[in-house]
Symmetry: C2
Subunit: 195 residues, 2 copies
């Protein structure tokens, strides 16, 4: 009896979807987690099978012990991207929300997952607006100097070089339910290829 | 608009299954990967949605750079278990095949995943029988002294203390298709709880 591992196409066919990664990046407080969660609700409602990976959540488990140095951030993102890749191999639509501050980090993610399986989405909001929201109180802590290596302050955040290379959701100008529906409409035609 | 992440019960209900991890452990060549793949075929045929994590596969990605020292093996297994936990949170039946040589490793896995979500399966075959199969040529390499820290030779493998604490599949005495069907019948009633 010869047995080989179920292939990704076999799994995709069974799930009636094309697997892929939607990678939301942007400043802390820009709305990545909220939008990722809202997008997942929409995609599940549309009948897709999803997996959700979030930066804060992974730091409690898979990325436990890693800090916020350049090296540690890169390793945290490498592990996240490798996990997303495993999820794609299983046929799942994978929604990732990670700050992914540097262009080099986004390149690393793209290299691991492969450009054909990756949809990059920049969640755009200025430092000032994110600091004004400050849902987790991190901006206040950073202002008091209690968070060295805070993204956008002591640690660099590089926005995309071009406004055409990835999807952009601006959460200053658009309400989250509008953004989430727009994001759904952007990605569904791609992920529905097989249905 | 308040949005919260889709919960595991919501995902399980939608997938009509109870999520959980089936963790196959045993010597290299005992048949973990083959049985894991065969079990996945069976479970998918039964309508379940699965994710597959395998030791060799993870060493090419998520566990790249880790070696075979006690510390590195523990870290590799920690990452595998954390990934399995994420997969369970997404509602998936997760089939893992890793040597997991020491009892302490199995304890670590159990602690991370949680006993309620873990089915341990010992894939039993003696060192001599595994060396006789030697599908990957590792036992020959180890015999020539080219693989320091090889499991069962220079690096310890601890079988379960009791023959009642986990499922046992003996691949010396039983053909793989018989074992796979038996394993399916053992786990399906547990994973079907919600269907």
């Amino acid at each position: 009896m010869f047995i080989k591992q179920l292939s990704r196409p076999e799994k995709e066919t069974r799930l009636r979807q094309r697997a892929g990664v939607i990678w939301l990046f942007g400043l802390s407080g820009a709305g990545k987690t909220t939008l990722g969660d809202a997008l997942e609700h929409h995609l599940v409602e549309a009948g897709l099978t999803t997996m959700r990976l979030d930066g804060d959540q992974l730091r409690l488990g898979l990325n436990q012990g890693l800090g916020f140095s350049d090296t540690d951030r890169a390793e945290a993102l490498r592990r996240a991207a490798e996990t997303a890749k495993l999820s794609v191999a299983a046929g799942f639509v994978t929604i990732c929300s990670f700050i992914t501050p540097q262009r080099a980090h986004r390149e690393l993610v793209r290299k691991i997952i492969g450009p054909a399986d990756l949809i990059d989405v920049y969640i755009e909001a200025s430092y000032a607006v994110c600091a004004g929201r400050d849902g987790k109180g991190l901006y206040k802590q950073a202002a008091r100097g209690e968070l060295p290596q805070f993204t956008g302050k002591d640690s660099i955040f590089e926005p995309p070089l071009s406004r055409t290379g990835c999807f952009i959701i601006n959460t200053e100008r658009e309400a989250v339910d509008v953004s989430a529906a727009r994001l759904r409409d952007l990605v569904l035609p791609i992920l529905r290829q097989l249905t």
